[in-house]
């Protein structure tokens, strides 16, 4: 695949792309300088066409998507514990189940709610009744029509404690008796109390719609959904094969077949891409970026996600019961430095507030930076004078880079007179009772979440992830009010105030959001960067991808 015009067009193309890029970062400026240098130094030596560029802006395709082809995607995995039960499988296995099953609503790549199986929905003025109308003529993979009965069965199954479904914790406001059929295409959910996060329950991938009588599938038998791909073979830990659902209600799929191949070793995954065994690679290791950038015919897709790996401080345990200590610890972190050293630069700076894509996110609060003097002063007020010792528990269970971040914190803390002992815990032991949720000072991980959704999980005592033992009366009043407020503007204002309280006196030290990277052959296009991030930069929207 050689470019007729030679190498200089490659450099010009790069400059053009950088000039037009919506996001000029330090990286793109440096690349521009390098490109200029290369242009000046090199003559028109033949180079392969296309070159490698970061797709930070969506480039318009010249031709309409062609149909056909077999997409092969290399993903992280290799674990045999996945299943194809869409209501039970976790994020990692969810790459596969999200091809097969769909919920009533969904999320757009920029974190807004959108309609999926639902044609429309209404929320009553008191926030208790949600009436959802299905799109007509929807079918499951076996040809059966999707009706209100299927919706009711799906939600009953999620509510059943024996299913051990993912969504159980988020459905506290709904009882099995609260789901009623109004007609063949309409279901009414009546909540026990007003709860505006129920909208997100309808969009949660764990609340996917399955046919009446659906049981946990053994292998591919019974894995029936409405999604763009039908599963044809399944080898847990190795690979999963799909064919396109030609009756899919939404866009695509353009390709005919999809195979997701699992890799334990990132080197093997990269070699598979460069060797042509796969067309797409989910979650590129930051150390592998130079290889892709210097190999023509391959590109990187970057996604700024809302996923975060923070430090947690248990505010009912010493020394974090003193708000001044918590504030001091947040001032210890040199955020850009920690991002550079722990994540190789592949994160964007956070400001101790995590619901960054919420309409109510307080954008105007000043970005927190390192301030060791202020930190020392706060600690002194709290009674510590260069003699504060803490233990920081970390593990690769929360993220491969998190132990490195812990080490960086330890070094940075010295400047404030705090001595940190880093205790690295075995990943299989980290989440056990007595460990996680009991650690005074530790780390955790979260995907992109909206405020009201995550609060229920992590900031209330009865939530399953009550990591920081957070308790604040003013905050509690505001957030409970927010759950009940149907009016969007008013609710966003309340959420904004809640987030501001966490900014001032919260118990997380959150310094970053993840930047996800995917790599792909230039023959495969149609990849869309997604805020969600847990499964890679594209959130596995394989139905949109096509070959050129």
């Amino acid at each position: 695949m050689s470019d007729q015009e030679g190498g200089s067009s490659f450099e010009v193309g790069k400059l053009w792309e950088i000039a037009n890029s919506k996001r000029v970062t330090r990286r793109t400026v440096l690349k521009g300088a390098a490109a200029m240098g290369a242009l000046a130094a090199l003559g028109p030596i033949a180079a392969a066409c296309g070159g490698s560029e970061s797709d930070t802006a969506a480039s318009p395709s010249a031709t309409a998507p062609k149909k056909g082809g077999h997409i092969r995607s290399g993903i992280n995995g290799g674990n045999t514990k996945d299943t194809l039960d869409g209501q039970v499988s976790y994020i990692d296995a969810g790459k596969k189940t999200e091809q097969i099953y769909e919920p009533l609503l969904g999320w757009t790549p920029d974190s807004k709610l959108e309609l999926k199986l639902a044609e429309s929905y209404e929320i009553s003025a008191d926030g208790i009744e949600y009436t959802v109308r299905l799109k007509p003529d929807l079918t499951f993979h076996d040809g059966k029509s999707v009706t209100a009965d299927d919706v009711i069965y799906s939600y009953q199954r999620v509510l059943d404690p024996d299913t051990a479904a993912l969504a159980t914790n988020h459905l506290t406001a709904l009882k099995p008796s609260g789901i009623k059929k109004l007609d063949d295409l309409t279901v009414r959910f009546t909540l026990e109390q007003p709860d505006m996060s129920f909208e997100e329950v309808l969009a949660y991938y764990g609340c996917c719609i399955v046919p009446v009588g659906f049981e946990s599938p053994k292998g591919v038998e019974g894995a029936i959904g409405t999604g763009p791909w039908k599963v044809t073979s399944y080898f847990p830990g190795e690979q999963t094969e799909f064919v396109a659902n030609r009756d899919y209600w939404g866009e695509g799929p353009y390709a005919d077949k999809l195979t997701m191949i699992e890799f334990v070793d990132p080197t093997a995954k990269l070699n598979a891409l460069l060797g042509g065994s796969v067309d797409h690679l989910a979650i590129l290791d930051t150390s592998q970026v130079p290889t892709i950038e210097s190999t023509p015919g391959y590109s990187i897709l970057e996604a700024k996600t809302g996923g975060w790996d923070p430090f947690t401080m248990a505010m009912d345990l010493k020394p974090f019961d003193d708000v001044r200590v918590r504030q001091a610890f947040r001032l210890i972190v040199d955020r850009p430095q920690m991002i550079e050293q722990a994540h190789g630069g592949y994160s964007w700076v956070a400001n101790d507030m995590w619901a960054v894509f919420d309409p109510g996110y307080p954008k105007d609060l000043p970005q927190r930076v390192q301030d060791l003097e202020q930190a020392k002063s706060l600690l002194k007020q709290a009674g510590y004078d260069n003699d504060l010792n803490v233990v920081l528990n970390c593990s690769t269970a929360t993220g491969a880079n998190d132990p490195a971040a812990a080490q960086v914190f330890k070094e940075q803390a010295k400047g404030a007179g705090v001595t940190v002992k880093v205790d690295k815990v075995d990943p299989n032991a980290y989440w056990n009772e007595g460990n996680y949720l009991s650690y005074p000072f530790a780390m955790t991980m979260w995907g992109t979440n909206s405020y009201l959704w995550l609060c229920r999980a992590a900031l209330f005592p009865d939530g399953p992830y009550y990591e920081t033992h957070w308790k604040d009366d003013e905050w509690e009043k505001l957030v409970l009010e927010a759950y009940k407020t149907v009016d969007d503007a008013k609710r966003n204002e309340l959420v904004s105030q809640c987030q501001t309280i966490e900014y001032e006196r919260g118990a997380y030290i959150q310094y970053q959001f993840h930047i996800m990277l995917d790599a792909h052959s230039d023959k495969l296009q149609g990849l869309v960067a997604d805020n969600f991030g847990a499964e890679g930069a594209t959130k596995s929207r394989f139905n949109l991808m096509y070959f050129v």
Binding site: T80, K81, A397
Partner: protein, 321 residues
């Protein structure tokens, strides 16, 4: 009863005892690790209620002795139980394919490694301290010193990704077809295993050959005027090879044990990666099955090596009578 048969039976009985002891030890070790299958599956989602429900479903709440005896009874019936994770596939089915993959890789590596190693070893022993011996020594010591995965990466760079592009960099075998029909994917991992294990055979044979060539009966054969070729083939090699058989048996058992780094590097679905995966999931039936399999391989290969040694060595053969 022929004495050889008596020896075999006794060794087999000892082997069975070994396997029993191993199964108990591995069971205990897996239980001693923090967490169990339920916590491994649920990870961060492991609320106490969900863990309890899952433990009951998997039978992990039964007393340890009951769990072990239940499993052992199954094994004696030929039923290795069901995997505790994923779709609960029967272990026999789950491992069947991966065992076949590992066997295929082992055979290919052995075929690549053993004949050249025998030739190199005996010749460098015969022509010791010459240029040929020097070259072979440097080569074999280098490869013996390099970790297996480094050899794998070097081969990958040389043949697949950087210098030449004649071999596939990833050896992912299609699970839907038989591994025997996809042997061309196995070149790099097989070469890696061969280069990692051959040096020991070469060195062993070289040393053994040197010793044999200085023995009385070889001097005798030469004095009798036997051509050098006969001296090597009929008088020296059968004796020199005896210690080497033990080394080869151990090498093969090592390969059969599933070399995890090679499997990870080339994404090869063998039993090494399965074992690591099963341990991290605390999937006890799978762990036990794989460990027993590997133990059986060691016992059988060692027994075979000993029998071959007896058969080849005339002294030991007559000693049987």
């Amino acid at each position: 009863m022929p004495p050889l048969l008596k020896i075999i039976l006794r060794r087999l009985a000892l082997g069975l005892l070994t396997m029993l002891v191993i199964s108990v030890l591995v069971f205990a070790a897996t239980q001693a690790l923090p967490g169990d299958t339920a916590t491994a599956i649920l990870g961060k989602e492991a609320t106490p209620e969900r863990v309890k429900v899952l433990r009951e479903q998997l039978g992990l709440d039964r007393p340890l002795l009951v769990q072990y005896v239940d499993w052992a009874g199954g094994i004696l019936r030929g039923d290795a139980g069901d995997s505790l994770v994923g779709t609960g596939e029967p272990v026999n089915q789950l491992l069947g394919r991966r065992v076949m993959n590992t066997v295929a890789l082992m055979l290919m590596a052995a075929l690549i490694a053993i004949p050249p190693a025998l030739v190199l070893g005996s010749l460098s022993g015969r022509f010791r301290d010459g240029l040929f011996d020097g070259a072979v020594s440097v080569g074999s010591l280098t490869f013996a010193a390099l970790p297996t995965f480094v050899i794998g990466i070097l081969l990958m760079l040389l043949f697949a990704t950087q210098i030449l592009h004649i071999l596939p960099a990833v050896s992912r075998v299609e699970p839907t077809a038989s591994v025997w029909s996809q042997m061309d994917l196995l070149w790099l991992p097989a070469l890696t295993l061969a280069l990692a294990s051959a040096p020991f055979t070469v060195r062993m044979l070289r040393g053994s050959m040197i010793e044999v060539l200085e023995s009385d009966y070889v001097q005798m054969a030469r004095l009798k005027g036997a051509p050098e070729r006969i001296v090597l083939q009929r008088h020296s090699l059968p004796n020199a090879i005896i210690p080497v058989i033990q080394v080869i048996a151990l090498d093969l058992a090592w390969m059969a044990g599933g070399v995890v780094t090679v499997e990870y590097l080339f994404n090869y679905p063998g039993i090494g990666a399965s074992l690591v995966n099963a341990v991290s999931n605390r999937d006890v039936p799978v762990v036990q099955a794989i460990v027993l399999l590997i133990a059986t391989v060691y016992v059988v290969f060692n027994l075979t090596a000993d029998i071959l040694t007896i058969l080849i060595s005339p002294r030991l053969r007559t000693g049987l009578q």
